[in-house]
């Protein structure tokens, strides 16, 4: 965990913990460190994702950050988190192919936060005369059965 992430957690705990327990009069003086253990929803791992073409235009950026609670996710989980955190991209995500370290991957592929990750909209290189063939690698539309 980076020190920035650790500081973020500490700050969050200090802000959230007293208010959650403010109606517990007897524990009003309780220090944060002795507070009951409860889950704080903190997403402290950053996955940076390269965007191209229509996705880049929609996000107005060639790279976005998706935050997660763990350092490895499946491609499918990453797409789902992205849809939640970047609403403007959500409509495209069922159509993208995920590339990790410059190779197409399946939706069940485990991705680490330090991988080179890209979300690729349908490609259109070359000239415009050859119809798309059925052997095109699967897109993430399988997210929505």
């Amino acid at each position: 965990m980076t020190s920035a992430a650790r500081n973020f957690i500490l700050l969050t705990q200090q802000k959230i913990a007293p208010s959650r327990f403010s109606n517990m009069a007897s524990s009003s003086s309780t220090h944060v460190s002795t507070a009951p253990n409860f889950d704080i929803e903190i997403a402290d791992v950053e996955f940076s994702i390269l965007l191209f073409a229509a996705l880049k235009d929609a996000a107005r950026s060639a790279e976005i950050i998706v935050r997660a609670k763990k350092a490895s996710l499946t491609a499918r989980e990453l797409l789902e988190l992205c849809a939640q955190q970047h609403f403007v991209l959500a409509r495209w995500l069922p159509h993208v192919r995920v590339a990790v370290n410059q190779e197409y991957v399946a939706l069940e592929k485990i991705i680490e936060a330090d991988d080179e990750i890209a979300f690729l909209p349908p490609v259109a290189g070359g000239a415009g005369f050859i119809p798309t063939r059925s052997s095109t690698p699967a897109r993430s539309s399988t997210l929505q059965p």
Binding site: V123, G125, A127
Partner: protein
């Protein structure tokens, strides 16, 4: 020879590379050149813009060339151009050199089909009535890209 360029493609150089790879064994050389058209689904195209995920595009092109070479016993070279292209300019060149001509034709068509499927390169058509990314599933819904529906 696999290359992605920002200026004009040197088609003669791409062709020479394929031919040289067979060390005199080529009896046929097929060169496919993809060029920018002035019309797309009824729209007057002003120019095109190509964008790539450059390192991955080059890797995919290498994989396709190797697959083509293994399957047909030929030599395959490719070049793609990025950036703004005017009508008539070449965006892609695929060259296959093979001992007999039938294999050269087939291998070149195969390589170009594969190229269209998997190389991460995108094409923006800029027309008099708007611009859009080709193959964008949401073109028309994207406020930045309003391609009128000409199918009706």
């Amino acid at each position: 020879m696999i290359t992605i360029v920002d200026g004009e493609i040197d088609a003669a150089e791409i062709e020479r590379a394929a031919q040289d790879a067979l060390q005199g064994g080529a009896g046929a050389v097929v060169r496919f050149t993809g060029t920018v058209r002035n019309l797309s689904e009824g729209h007057d195209i002003a120019y095109l813009e190509y964008e790539a995920y450059r390192p991955m595009a080059k890797r995919q092109m290498q994989l396709i060339a190797e697959e083509t070479e293994n399957r047909w016993g030929c030599a395959c070279s490719m070049a793609h151009r990025l950036g703004r292209l005017e009508i008539g300019e070449a965006s892609v060149v695929v060259v296959v050199a093979a001992p007999p001509r039938r294999e050269a034709f087939e291998a070149c068509a195969f390589a170009m089909d594969r190229f269209k499927e998997s190389v991460p390169i995108w094409k923006k058509e800029v027309a008099r009535d708007g611009f859009w990314w080709v193959e964008d599933p949401l073109a028309g819904k994207n406020p930045l890209a309003s391609k009128p529906d000409t199918s009706k």
